[in-house]
Amino acid sequence: MHIDSKLRFDNFVVGSANRLAAAAARAVAEAPGAVYNPLFVYSGSGLGKTHLMSAIGNFVVQRKGRSAMLVSLDDLVDELHEAIAAGTTDHLLHRYMQVGVLLIDDVQFLTGHRETQSELLRIFNALQADGRQLVITSDRPLSEIADVDERLITRLSGGLIVDIGAPDYETRMAILNATCQERGVKFRPGVVEELGRIEFENVRELQGALNRLIAHQTLGGEMLTPDMVVPVLGEIAEKRARATAPRVSGEFASFLTEIASAVAHHVEQWKTRLSEAIEYWNSEGYQTGMLTRVLQGAVAPKSLESLLREFEGAVTRLRDVERQVARLDAALAKHDAFHDPDRLEEAEQFLERALRLSSPPPGPSAAFTRAGFEVGGSNQLAVRAADAVVAFPAARYNPLFIHGPSGVGKTHLLNAIGNGLARESGGGGAVACVPAQLFVDELISALQEGGVDRWRQRYRNAAALLLDDVQFVAGKERTQEELFHVFNALYADGKQLVLASDRPPRELSGLEERLRSRFEGGLVVSMQAPDRPLRERLYARYLRDLGVDPTAEMLGYLSERQVASVREIIGIANRIVASAEVAAVPVTTGFIRAELEPDGADPARAAAYRAANDPFFLDREKVVWQWTDHGARLIEDLR
């Protein structure tokens, strides 16, 4: 059964008897699957059910780019029977699932087909669950279709049920005028009006009567007069005309007819269409200022369809934005801006703000892994503590406070802990790993925007909080206040806290006592500058990373050199390799020595340089012991 392309909304005559059905059909066509699903239209025969259904199909295919399928229930039943016999009902379901809008005509024939009904129920459920639109017509209300599964009735009643009544006088006139115009037929004045006065029960009868008049006039070669209409149409028309006649006097009826034709001629169709759209969107709860302004203007828009599409696009975007905001902040989603396409920009700003404030706090950097962290004597206590924290979050050391000078790997270890916790939690919540300075900046922004509650909630929702460079919160009262509450909330919820600083809590001046005591309540560990074995491993690793295969001699020489941080080792490795590339020579121990000790050709000076940089010799007691010119002074004087 194909959809007749001639049956469209623009040639469906709307009157009081079918206004609701037409409005519902248009709403369904504008937003298939979103409103009134399923749409159930019932009426006596010949009142326009199939026209409306086909109009939906044509609109959806042409304007919405979606597919539509029109089937009569008979066809559907036949297909189902074949599929059941062949055991291919799933294939049938699959075929219907490809359709955006399924239009089923004449479902009154469901009576008695129990097996068909249960299969239909399955198809309807699947279609609706997938957001596909269902439109159904019948010649009687659902309650009057005998012997139908209660579940199917419930399903079909779940959307909107509308009926179409017999056309009123104006509708009959509009249909007759439209048909005459379409067929290029002209009657004497009063003939069409006389026909319109007869209350036919359906449009097919009316059009049949018009056809009879046309045939009579064309074949008889005689122009009909108004008083010939009823005799030409015969007995039924006579009965109906007699019943109709007393209602309106001839003069007034004729006046009405002419006014109807004048109104139809002069009313601007684009305004009618626009006002229908306004009515529809208002009923959906949206402000329509954008359309009302155009309606109030004297000039028709260049393209009404573009305007309506633009409006619909704005509503779609608003709905999307509202959904997103509702997920982030239900209270904010109730704002009026989400129902006014004129305020789309404002709604977008709400979303942006909600996202900014409600998005998970910054997480650990994936670049810093535990595997990539070299362990040595200078940091092994911190690393063991970190491993324990990952293995037993909030159970062993909570909070874990790591301190040490800059560049010894605190940030690396902090992020590695964060990655470990995120992995162990299995996505059970975001792990916040944030530098203290960013924490402060975010709080300031939240204060400016009045979103502190959401900002606070964002951290309280975290699975763990890892705060780097915590020394930056010292002296910042409001930040410490917020950190205190976040700390307590997370701690109470059994969530892990890890803090890193360049000095131990006791030495953080400007840190409130209540925070200090909490920071010290778990485990405070330090990380120091890498010792010799760690330096050797780090040099070996970084040089290999740079494409140099270090020899034992090379590593021995380099690891002898005292450094303050891991960063310094990376800097030295980079410098050596870059210099070798510039000089176009291979990296050798001699080259390294020449590079690092430009004055160190003399082994004695090199030894002195090495000694000067060796922590052993940096011991004040030893230095004084070497410096003979201070020999006259007592060591104790220098202490």
Partner: protein, 208 residues
């Protein structure tokens, strides 16, 4: 007044019957009232003196039903013709979408007809309305009277219809010409819709 409200899908049309005293304005409304089925007409409000002359005005609301999807209502008013009711005439004329000028065809009433027509123009001008933009039809009533008592339509046309608006010979008491006049003014008013011409009143307000 808003003639077509696309938002509420209503067409409301205010037609004023204007003319000298005893020219037959109220008779026009009575005839229409008698022809309209009960379910289509509201209560006709008529405030008259003891001698049956319109004291203030007549008002007949007509519900034409749904036309092209619009609930269409006509409101028919008459003005008191007597010279001393100038204020009432101005009030009734306010917001009119069209005017049916009912002239008395009796020969001795010619001056009153001309005076009333001038009064119409003056009242429109007072309200800042461009009379040329106001839809108007002329109805020469009482054409059923003996011909020696009345002026022919061509004479009346020469005297009154200098704007060459639609004109109708009428016998309001018995009906001829009544609905023709109403139909004609309704069409003129509706035609203004598609011509895109602004309402006379706002245009006048802007001119002020």
């Amino acid at each position: 007044m808003s003639l077509v409200n696309y938002a509420t899908r209503e067409i409301t049309c205010k037609i004023v019957y204007y003319g000298p005293g005893r020219s037959g304005k109220t008779t026009n409304l009575h005839y229409i009232y008698g022809q309209v089925p009960d379910d289509r007409k509201g209560k006709m409000v008529s405030l008259a003196t003891q001698t049956d002359r319109t004291l203030f005005f007549d008002f007949l609301p007509l519900d034409l039903g749904t036309i092209s999807g619009f609930t269409t209502k006509f409101q028919l008013y008459t003005v008191p013709g007597q010279v001393y009711y100038a204020t009432t005439r101005r009030l009734v004329l306010q917001g009119a979408d069209g005017v049916v000028f009912v002239a008395d065809s009796q020969a001795h009433q010619l001056d009153e007809n001309i005076e009333s027509l001038q009064d119409l123009h003056a009242n429109l001008a007072d309200q800042g309305i461009d009379a040329r933009a106001m839809p108007l039809v002329l109805q020469y009533n009482k054409q059923d009277l003996p011909s020696d008592l009345i002026l022919g339509t061509s004479l009346l046309s020469d005297a009154l219809n200098f704007r060459e608006v639609p004109e109708f010979s009428a016998d309001a008491l018995h009906g001829p010409g009544v609905f023709e006049s109403l139909r004609s003014i309704a069409e003129l008013v509706l035609k203004r819709l598609s011509s895109g011409a602004p309402d006379p009143a706002p245009m006048a307000a802007a001119a002020r």
